[in-house]
Symmetry: C2
Amino acid sequence: MTGSAKRVTRADVARVAGVSPTTVSFVLNDTPGQSIPPGTRRRVLEAVERLDYRPHASARTLAAGRSNVVLLSIPHLSPGPGITRFVEEFASALAQTGLTLITHLAGVPGRSLPDVCAAVDASVVVGIEPFDPGTVQALRRAGADIVLPAEGEAGTYSPMRHAGRLQAEHLIEHGRRRLGYALPEDDRLRKMAEERLAGVEDACAAASLPAPAVLVVETELDGAASAVRGWIEESVTGVCAYNDETAFAVLAGMRENGRTAPADLAVIGMDDIPLARLTDPPLTTVRFDLREAGRHLAQAVAVSLSSGEPHLTTAAGFPRVIRRSTV
Amino acid sequence: MTGSAKRVTRADVARVAGVSPTTVSFVLNDTPGQSIPPGTRRRVLEAVERLDYRPHASARTLAAGRSNVVLLSIPHLSPGPGITRFVEEFASALAQTGLTLITHLAGVPGRSLPDVCAAVDASVVVGIEPFDPGTVQALRRAGADIVLPAEGEAGTYSPMRHAGRLQAEHLIEHGRRRLGYALPEDDRLRKMAEERLAGVEDACAAASLPAPAVLVVETELDGAASAVRGWIEESVTGVCAYNDETAFAVLAGMRENGRTAPADLAVIGMDDIPLARLTDPPLTTVRFDLREAGRHLAQAVAVSLSSGEPHLTTAAGFPRVIRRSTV
DNA sequence: CTGAAAGCGCTAACAT
DNA sequence: ATGTTAGCGCTTTCAG
């Protein structure tokens, strides 16, 4: 009994505004096909304001059959600044359509994505990478009306794979013909890492080069150093790192072995974290600018949602290499 | 008309299991005070399995008057690994109580925390730092049953402030008597930064030292270099950085000015990002192990939720300094 | 242009 | 031990 103020309901607003509950809904939802006279509308809005009324989301969802919640699955915490900007842009673009974005950190134990989706009754689930068919299935059964991007749809492409390709191509352009790939230690990053690695393999294949020598690089000096020795033994001359952090680990391993970049081994990272430009030497890396992608995606969501079931696809990230001094 | 399979409802399960809807609820919710015979329970569970039934969250929330959703406000994307572990632990501990954690990245435009709270009908909102009274108010009006930690409650303390204190104390212990504080560029970090800075000021005051010389350090060589010059002019001998990233910027600025740590200027970071141990020299920093805090908090949530309104408070992070080579 | 009425799927008394 | 019955607060035909 701390003072549980009863919830303000639509009925309260109606009473204060001197109209019926239905009318309140009409003005609040801008229901099409209803012409509300300005006076009535104003009175309703005022009452809403005065009572600090908030529609009860669950009730609305239950009645309308769909929520306005969009669930974004983020691969892992600590993604690069690119993802941050993507989220910002995406969230605010969605907000303008009346949609609310919530995030779920994938890889966190306890609750799977479909569980979360069901728990919040999300009507849309969005991922950075295309979802595989099984996941899409599960998500739909969990109540998601639309899921995207989905694997194999028209227009779908993997930004991560593209980015991987860019890394390798850059190294190849600069004369490196035997590449290495630096995998991060963390298992939860594995899936995304494989996507990026696939891009590197694409580039190698396209240039008729042998497949990259893949090594896990630990976030610890000795481990990193031994990985570097591994590459040297295989006469690798350029390594693509999963991300900038991994790239720095490689660089540390090289320092430990008395090697320097790019002379002994070229290194290219991914993400362009702020630190990349501050180290000595500054790191060559691949940057995403997903801001525009965020806006696109929001629009795709809006369209899919209104134009019924069919999930319109759009993904688009625009990776590009930022050349600094390690290649 | 892509084939919108109608939702499986509790009634369907009841029909298949040959019991009443109520009974289904009873077994699914383990409703106390009901003794369901094993046979019935099994039949219900089987039907649930067979139909792949999922209770409709909104309906449940609407009827029960509370959701099982816990909303965690994360200060900013790219927090250190400590936060990640906190989230993991917190999420899985909550899951065991049937609660689902969703995250909201604060500072993202578009939707404020109360908006999100209302959109998902979260019954609990949790933050890393105590919420100020205004926010608590807003959150409660948005439908949150419990909000924590709240400012000024018994047992509340600010882990960030504590961590700031630790930074300064470490510097002071090592003979630095004129401190600087390195603020990050990003405005959205300002609030948290001020919390950490307050801890540094506490320590200075406690040691009867002048207040720290506060400077914003840009993530760019020239800016960082000029900040460093600023400190040197004020004969600062040790600087506490907002986080490890900022610390690296300071280090870069020092390099630019031909200074080295800790000889010319001691630097201590915060977060202990993986890179901290890989640089040359490795960075002295403060690490959080919030895993246990995550579990504690989950328990506090569970208790608060069952024991009615009163929000039990618990926060607790356990920062400690990791001494490496920059101080 | 506005209101009345029928649910959405579930929980929680209250019977039985 | 199980079933019956009201709603939870809102959307949405369908009448006035």
